[in-house]
Symmetry: C2
């Protein structure tokens, strides 16, 4: 059974949810696939001034429904995540904002990447028109634990896949079953067909999802072993399908000698411990010059933080296990213990650059939770070779006042991470057009793609080229009159 637990008490909340059987999962996927046919055929956007149905309008209705139900949503989520009202209200708003962003993406139409090459007589070349269309089936989504709204049933994978024109079946995360069920209910009420969003529970049902012939792509946010297990199942399919997994990120931060020290330690400590260190983007590695004063401020800043309950008992166990690995390093500071059954205490360790390099790669693995490693260096010229050996991350950050000083470090980090940050902190992922939330393995299994921001829709789109195709059968985006007014590349020239 899937049980909901209160991280503050460790007690169960509400009734348990039975795991979905294979037969039930199959029926849910089939129903989603059937509902997906009409959804796929629904225009992404209404014609300018028109009032027909569109996927954009539905996404906006979903966003409105999430906003409207925020009171109940945050309370249900708080009871099983202990993330608190402010964070959870903010996250519902963010989830709603994601649906609205994808509505804007659909209205813009740039995501279909319409291209028209007219026929030429000499040399004789046919008329060719290309655009992106939804993957032809159901998208399977493994919900994440750490954002019960923004990376779960109501999250970016669901929003982007629905926007693309795909039905979605989510494998819910055991960490917030009641929130998941409520989100599914709220979203379904705003969909033209409630079967467009399926929800299954348990490991077996998750496997059914990945193996199901109607499932055409999988999104996942979770651990490296979890991601590898899904890839292995996909490889065994008669038709391996695209897999978009986000598997872990250590998010290095490099403080160069020219960096302003003011607020540095406090900023780091706040980013390290945000969400009890359960963000994908908490900074797990901080490279700083050898500077006793700076180490003292870092120690003081982390000592001033307070821990809190992690989301699940299992995540707490995982964190404590990873801490054992880090305990081989020097302990620099410990925060105040948090309260609650699943509470953990922020931890800060330190090691010199040479010893760090000698202990790679294990020393640089992600420790999911509020623990970080401060790596001290004497000579900044030694940094690039060590940074070069880090695994891929979602983010990498540079603190400096002199861009010239940062040039070499920046060159390495822009190859190691999908998002690079100057004099800031990696937590806080803006849902915008320019966001890239991805990077080299293990931060993503598909480094060309993002799970956050407007481009996330691309994961669920595939191009089709139409050769000499009759206008009657062309999608409107490729018809000569361009009724939806999408940007197009015509005979090699981008036109608006």
């Amino acid at each position: 059974m899937i049980r909901s637990y209160d991280p503050r008490t460790g007690e169960t909340v509400g009734d348990p949810i039975p795991p979905t059987t294979a037969a039930e999962a199959d029926a849910i996927v089939r129903a989603a696939h059937a509902a997906g046919r009409a959804w796929r055929a629904t225009p992404g956007a209404e014609r300018p001034g028109g009032d027909g149905p569109s996927r954009a309008r539905v996404l906006e209705a979903v966003a409105d429904a999430l906003d409207k139900n925020v009171e109940e949503l945050w309370r249900v989520a708080d009871a099983e995540t202990a993330l608190g009202e402010v964070r959870l209200r903010g996250e519902v708003a963010r989830a709603a904002g994601q649906f609205r962003l994808f509505a804007a993406v659909l209205r813009d139409g740039g995501h279909v990447e319409a291209v028209i090459d007219h026929a030429t007589a000499q040399p004789p070349v046919p008329d060719l028109r290309r655009m992106n269309r939804p993957l032809p089936g159901v998208v399977g989504v493994y919900a994440a634990s750490n954002f019960p709204f923004a990376f779960s049933v109501a999250g970016g994978d669901t929003a982007s896949a629905l926007a693309a024109g795909c039905a979605v079946v989510v494998k819910g995360h055991d960490g917030h079953p009641r929130t998941s069920a409520l989100c599914a209910e709220v979203i379904r009420a705003a969909l033209p067909d409630e079967a467009l969003l399926g929800l299954v529970w348990g490991r077996e049902a998750g496997g059914c999802l990945v193996r199901h012939p109607d499932v055409v792509g999988v999104g996942f946010t979770g651990s490296i072993p979890g991601g590898k297990a899904i890839q292995a199942m996909i490889d065994e399919r008669p038709d391996p399908i695209p897999f978009y997994g986000e598997l872990g990120s250590v998010n290095p931060v490099v403080v160069l000698p020219s960096a302003r020290r003011e607020g540095l330690a406090e900023g780091f400590a706040a980013s390290l411990t945000l969400g009890v260190g359960q963000f994908c983007t908490n900074p797990g590695l901080l490279f700083v010059p050898e500077d006793a004063g700076l180490l003292v401020s870092l120690a003081e800043a982390v000592a001033a933080t307070t821990g809190g309950p992690m989301l699940t008992a299992r995540m707490r166990e995982g964190f404590l296990h990873e801490l054992e690995r880090l305990s081989a390093l020097d302990r620099l500071a410990e925060g105040r213990p948090g309260e609650g059954a699943y509470a953990v205490t922020p931890q800060l360790f330190t090691i010199g650059l040479e010893a760090f390099a000698a202990a790679l790669p294990r020393v640089a693995e992600e420790c999911f939770g509020p623990a970080g490693v401060v790596v001290t260096y004497r000579d900044p010229a030694a940094l690039p070779a060590v940074l070069e050996r880090l695994d891929g991350s979602l983010t990498a950050t540079v603190h400096a006042t002199d861009p010239a000083e940062a040039e070499e470090v920046a060159e390495v980090l822009t190859r190691k991470a999908g998002r690079v940050i100057w004099n800031g902190w990696p937590t806080g992922v803006a849902v915008r057009w320019a966001m890239h939330h991805g990077g080299p393995w293990p931060s993503s299994t598909a480094p060309a793609h993002t799970s956050v921001g407007a481009a996330a829709i691309r994961r669920w789109l595939v191009p089709t080229s139409y050769q000499d195709w009759p206008a009657e059968l062309l999608p409107p985006e490729l018809r000569d009159d361009n009724p939806l007014g999408v940007p197009r590349r015509v005979d090699g020239t981008l036109t608006l």
Copy 2:
């Protein structure tokens, strides 16, 4: 040893090439990686009116070098492929054209997909700028047998990866070793550093390429077992990398009752037997109404074709083996035997729609070579359910005069193939902006991507987002003054 054979005689040509040892392959990849650093830093395009170095200029120099050496290239290729002067001259021109298209892509700049979201004060959101950049390392390419120029050392994978800013190491195809070596020599002479294009030989070296830590992506055109073997090697890497494989395609053609019959049989026979049936896009399945006259014309048209030598002894064996499988069907026609040691004879089989459906999926597997299956149907309404069961293809074709009649069939086929063709034939892949040469498994392992046309460069690009990044360290495409004049999306609006 890698030996070159003349398909007309079966005799060896020239000296054998020793397989590349693991140590040699490692050194070649490392040299490519080292050369790649400067290449990656070379601007894609020169500034308008500027005269600095650019990758676009180098690609144009490569194209010129291929054109200039066409005499020697086609002769060397003909001696080991027997494809003939006209085809091979045309293919050199096509390969050169691919390099020129990617130069145009770099000058246009749309491929970097530059996006700028300015900071906002309320809510407080940082400045975020995103663009595509080269995969950070060497691209490994497995050359195909069937296009010794356009899908081999001088092919689209090499051209698109160099355009993206990556060094390339090709695992040469045994079917045309001397052509491969000559192409590498010709291209290298036009590159700023000859190590930017490596060439290795043999299965072991191919494995080294896929497993090498400096290799960041692999392109492949070949068989399903070959593609699966590469995916398995990639899965075992500590950092699995993107894999773009094109593994096979049966390219169904559906003739609807309204189709014009004039020229139909001749068009099909020509497309079926083009290049001795060794194109990725030869039409292997033809669905036609039950019509004795049409079957007679198809039989006559194929009987009037002449076979020829396949590219290698192994491909001939493979073809003959697949023919055994098809010989369970009724034989409709046989072409005239071709001449030469590796010659095969065009073959046409037929089966009714119900029997075909009962024999799926085996009956619809690709038979690489000049053999096709004509599937006869009584009721066109029975077609969609059968077409639905086909594997993915690069192309699907409809012959009809009435678009309304084709609506349902077209809906299915546009989900089953990457390119759909109206009243034409699938052979002939135009190297253009609107081309999509990909599709669902097994036609591609990455259905969102194409191996031909302008968008092929995307396979070797990954986005980076720059948050509050100093202008001095931003790529020119993301600087406020946009010195390269690339199209950009600014605060959500596409601007030219």
